[in-house]
């Protein structure tokens, strides 16, 4: 039996370690004064937030508040939309990704993305995962096998598909397909993974599996997730960002950005309070 004092000391030491660990990490992404337009329509205005390394940040807010647009700014997916324009900057490890010198292909390798609906290629399970590394120039069979196995294991799918690597990805269930898409994103060794409502097309059990997986992935990756499910944000994220378009036609703004714990027990802004308690929506 340990004395109370000993137990207390142990807890204090543990807290110190956790604190040191957190302080060491710093911010992976810094969004500074970001505004975004589709043609002349301003979608987002003056968004500023710091996303710490190896954390899960959830973006919540009513439909149309610009949370998916913000997510897509982080790996410049919006570049593909004609007449979209971005002001301000997004720093990834201190480098502005909107600098002309930024290599967009390399950026998207470092910042992977998983979408709302599982979208595997109509190819085999193996080919789905090996596609990215292959494009990157890996042609050694043994090395590729290792990458595929490791990625599927990290995505908690290996045990379910190890005997059917050559069957079509489309024969998998929805939840499995989504984990395959996560494995595909992991295969190119990203640092950040963006999730755009990854569970909205899945049943509750598949959703729980993905949520567990995200918490595991947090050990090694920085995760930003857009979710319509507030309880999902409450369950898995470390930090929650609440975005809101207050008046139809005005841009979405960041209303509150704080610890998830704080947001869901005692939010600072009355608009956050009213939204998460379901008093408007």
């Amino acid at each position: 039996m340990k004395s109370n004092l000993e137990v207390e000391n142990l807890i204090v030491e543990k807290d110190k370690e956790v604190g040191k660990e957190m302080a060491k990490l710093g911010n992976k992404i810094e969004i500074r004064d970001l505004s975004m337009y589709y043609d002349s329509f301003k979608v987002l205005e003056n968004i500023t937030m710091s996303i710490p390394c190896r954390s899960i940040v959830a973006l919540i807010g009513p439909s149309g508040c610009g949370k998916s647009s913000l997510l897509r700014c982080i790996n410049r997916m919006n570049d593909l939309i004609p007449n979209s324009k971005v002001e301000g900057e997004i720093l990834l490890d201190g480098e502005n990704i909107y600098n002309p010198s930024c290599e967009v292909i390399e950026l998207r390798r470092r910042v992977g993305m998983v979408f709302q609906k599982p979208n595997p290629f109509p190819k085999s399970v193996y080919d789905n995962v090996s596609f990215g590394p292959q494009v990157m120039g890996i042609d050694n069979k043994k090395e590729m096998d290792e990458i595929v196995e490791a990625s599927l294991k990290k995505a908690a799918l290996w045990d379910e598909v190890k005997d059917k690597l050559r069957t079509s990805a489309l024969s998998l269930s929805g939840g499995q397909q989504q984990r395959l898409c996560i494995a595909r994103a992991l295969a190119v060794q990203p640092e950040v993974i963006l999730f755009d409502e990854p569970c909205s097309a899945l049943d509750p059990v598949a959703t729980q599996k993905i949520e567990d997986l995200l918490i595991e992935l947090k050990e090694n990756y920085t995760i930003v997730i857009v979710t319509h499910n507030m309880q999902q944000a409450a369950r898995i994220s470390d930090i929650t960002a609440f975005l809101l378009m207050e008046v139809q036609g005005e841009p979405g703004r960041l209303i509150e950005y704080s610890d998830t714990n704080k947001i869901f027990t005692n939010p600072s802004d009355y608009r956050t309070e009213r939204y998460i308690t379901g008093r408007f929506g």
């Binding site: 409450a234 009213r274 308690t277 008093r279 408007f280």
Partner: protein
Amino acid sequence: MKKEALEPRKAFHQQLDDLYYELLRMMVKTLDILEETRKAFKRLDVAKASEVINHDDVIDFYRSHIEEEGIELLARQAPVASDLRLIVVIMRMAQHLERVADLCVNICKAIKNLEGIEISTWIQEGIETMFEHSKKMLTLTMEAFMRMNLDLVDNLNQMDEKIDHINRSFFTAFDKDSSKELDLIIRVVMISRFIERIADHAVDMGEHLRFLVTGHAE
């Protein structure tokens, strides 16, 4: 905000409102019991004391009902922010009120043992003052809870000190006057102690209210 007429969780908020009013009813009932207990002591009315003892199950029913409803809302509605704090505080308050009613029962049991004994005026007055103060504290807590107004519970601690003071004075007074019957001394000290505990519950409820309104646990 323009679209607030559209409240997505109306049904849930209706249930939460019902729970809130149920607690208010429980508060009123508990205050009644405290008042009846005060009267029973003042007149050493054994019949009234028995009545209080027999009515305690009403308060127990309120408490278990509020707890059940609260747990159900927590489990099924996943409340957050002020909704979450409200449910947690309502459940805690119900527990305090149940304890207050139990203490009234304890006082009434002691009153039954005082039948026929003459109680000096200074004791009568001391206990009466304690009753008045603790009633005032509970009433203020209830009003503060009804209006979500923290100003009303600002002075609870000061009021509690007065009660503590009278409670302690009984011990010293009896020291000087040890010729009194031991039985009487024990009963009065017990009753005084029970009222002092009731006041402590009022202080605690004031703190829960502070948490509900500000979100900060002291």
